[in-house]
């Protein structure tokens, strides 16, 4: 038991160390600054700028999370505070099924439904697009992370003791005031961590996004530009482009960056949680 526990604890370090050792070749030969912030990606000329990929990833996952916040927050409040308990009984299996659908299915669905919708939506702003762009990627991600985040949020709101609401109501607060000032505050650390986990998940999601996001190496300038997120870069190229020297190493670095960003998200949300937990 202890051995397996130790294994779990040191596994991430092994992961990071392995990735680092594999990518050391490219880190040694290029300035880290160039690698992270340059937008020139010409592996044949030994130029590896990761900025287009990092920024694409941020665009897709942040747009997805921004769209997810109101949807998830409002529906979890409705389900736990306003709806009859039978609604939750009905919703729970639906949410669970959604959460368990393989991501490639979301990808195919995205190609069929979201991509055409994206063309139409861009048309409203007089923008011409193929439909394979950040917007489509974000929408597909949104549908994927909603059940994941919603499940956590519902659990968080259900864990708040009813007596706390009763206390607020008995002081003359309305139901909405109670939700706004008391429940949301009480649940705040949990809400932050739910969206933090959702963001990490969105950032790392590969296949469904890859299928609709366009995979054009460029820094996207608006939401209807195509992009090329980090996980897609790795999945599309690993094992294929090994004729080009150091490509292998570059992809390992991409994986390392992905890991680092997700760790940063995790630490940031944990920090926020600690600051607010004191009062709840």
């Amino acid at each position: 038991m202890l051995a397996s526990l130790i294994l779990i604890i040191i596994l991430p370090f092994f992961l990071a160390a392995g990735l680092y050792l594999k990518s050391i070749l490219i880190i040694n030969e290029n300035h880290l600054q160039d690698l992270l912030f340059s937008d020139i990606w010409k592996p044949a000329e030994n130029k590896f700028g990761f900025a287009p990929f990092i920024i694409s990833s941020l665009w897709v996952s942040l747009s997805a999370i921004i769209l997810a916040v109101p949807v998830c927050l409002l529906s979890s409040i409705y389900i736990t505070q306003y709806a009859k308990s039978s609604v939750l009984k009905l919703m729970q299996p639906v949410i669970d099924i959604l959460a368990g659908i393989p991501s490639v299915i979301f990808g195919v669905w995205g190609v069929l439904m979201i991509v055409p919708f994206s063309v139409k939506a861009a048309g409203w702003f007089n923008i011409h697009t193929t439909g394979y762009n950040i917007f489509s990627g974000a929408l597909v991600l949104l549908v994927m992370i909603i059940p994941f985040i919603l499940n956590i949020l519902i659990e968080i709101f259900r864990m708040i003791p009813e007596e706390l609401s009763e206390a607020s109501l008995s002081l003359g607060a309305t139901k909405w005031e109670t939700i706004k000032y008391i429940l949301l505050r009480k649940a705040f650390p949990g809400i932050v961590s739910a969206f933090g986990l959702g963001l990490s998940r969105a950032f790392g999601e590969t296949i469904a996004v890859l299928m609709v996001v366009g995979n054009v190496i460029q820094i996207p300038h608006n939401i209807f530009d195509p992009g090329y997120p980090l996980p897609a870069l790795i999945a599309n190229n690993y094992g294929e482009m090994l004729s080009i020297p150091k490509y292998d190493s570059a992809l390992m670095l991409a994986a390392l960056i992905l890991l680092a960003v997700i760790l940063i998200f995790n630490f940031a949300s944990r920090l926020l949680i600690m600051r607010f937990e004191k009062y709840s």
Binding site: P161, E166, L169, G172
Partner: protein, 255 residues
């Protein structure tokens, strides 16, 4: 039954069921003003539900059916059209365990006032100090008013909850086994406070602790399985109970 001179709350023919299960059956009780009325009875007899009916917290339950009337200040609060939040502000609630709001000590007291529309900081400061003093908490917390309320001890938290209830200016205090989570000293502090508070407030206290009822009750309502078995002034109730079931309970035959 002895007549009561000034009933503050008059409960008539109150029936309440949840999911078709009867919780309260034909309750008729008059709660006297400026007295401590104790709802006494074994666990699960409907005391807490009766208490929550008084400030309509029963609204929160699914599938509740209520009939009868609860008259407070000439108004049937079960069928009123007026603002339920105003009615709730007439009653402070103290629950079994203290549930401080997720904010500072100061915030806990000022919350209800802010909801009522008091905005001036000077008035809020004054009220916070006043009500913390009223529950003997001021000296203990004056240096850390803006610390989280959750950092207080359970006994202090319960007094804080009492203070925040008093701050909205209620006429009635509803207390649901308020000492069950407290140590003997904190319990005693709460009981002593109740004895002082009854000069200005009408108190309704739910308890299953017989000795507590004997110590502070003015009027006793004894409930069993959702019905009122017997009620009357405390002295009469404890010295010469009329019903067999009351006698058995007072002897400690069941709990």
């Amino acid at each position: 039954m002895t007549t009561i001179i000034t009933p503050k709350i008059k409960i008539s023919e109150l029936n309440l069921s949840i999911d078709k299960q009867e919780i309260l059956k034909n309750i008729n009780v008059e709660i006297p003003e400026n007295k401590i009325t104790v709802l006494l009875g074994p666990s699960g007899c409907g005391k807490t539900t009766l208490l929550k009916t008084l400030n309509r917290l029963t609204d929160l339950y699914d599938n509740v059916k209520i009939s009868g009337s609860v008259i407070l200040d000439n108004e049937d609060i079960l069928h009123t059209k007026s603002d339920i939040t105003k009615i709730r502000q007439k009653m402070g609630l103290l629950s079994q365990r203290p549930y401080p709001l997720p904010m500072s000590i100061y915030g806990n007291i000022s919350y209800g006032l802010k909801i009522k529309g008091v905005k001036k900081k000077k008035i809020l400061d004054e009220r916070v100090e006043h009500y913390l003093k009223e529950v003997n908490l001021w000296e203990e917390v004056r240096e850390r008013l803006h610390h989280p309320a959750s950092a207080l001890s359970i006994g202090q938290q319960q007094r804080l909850c009492l203070a925040r209830g008093l701050a909205v200016g209620p006429e009635i205090i509803l207390a649901d086994e308020p000492t069950s989570a407290l140590d003997p000293l904190s319990s005693q502090a709460i009981e002593e406070m109740f004895l002082i508070l009854k000069k200005n407030y009408t108190l309704v206290l739910v308890t299953h602790i017989l000795r507590q009822a004997k110590r502070i009750a003015d009027y006793v309502v004894f409930m069993y399985l959702g019905e009122v078995v017997e009620q009357g002034p405390a002295e009469e109730f404890f010295s010469s109970p009329k019903m067999e079931r009351t006698k058995a309970y007072l002897k400690g035959a069941f709990n």
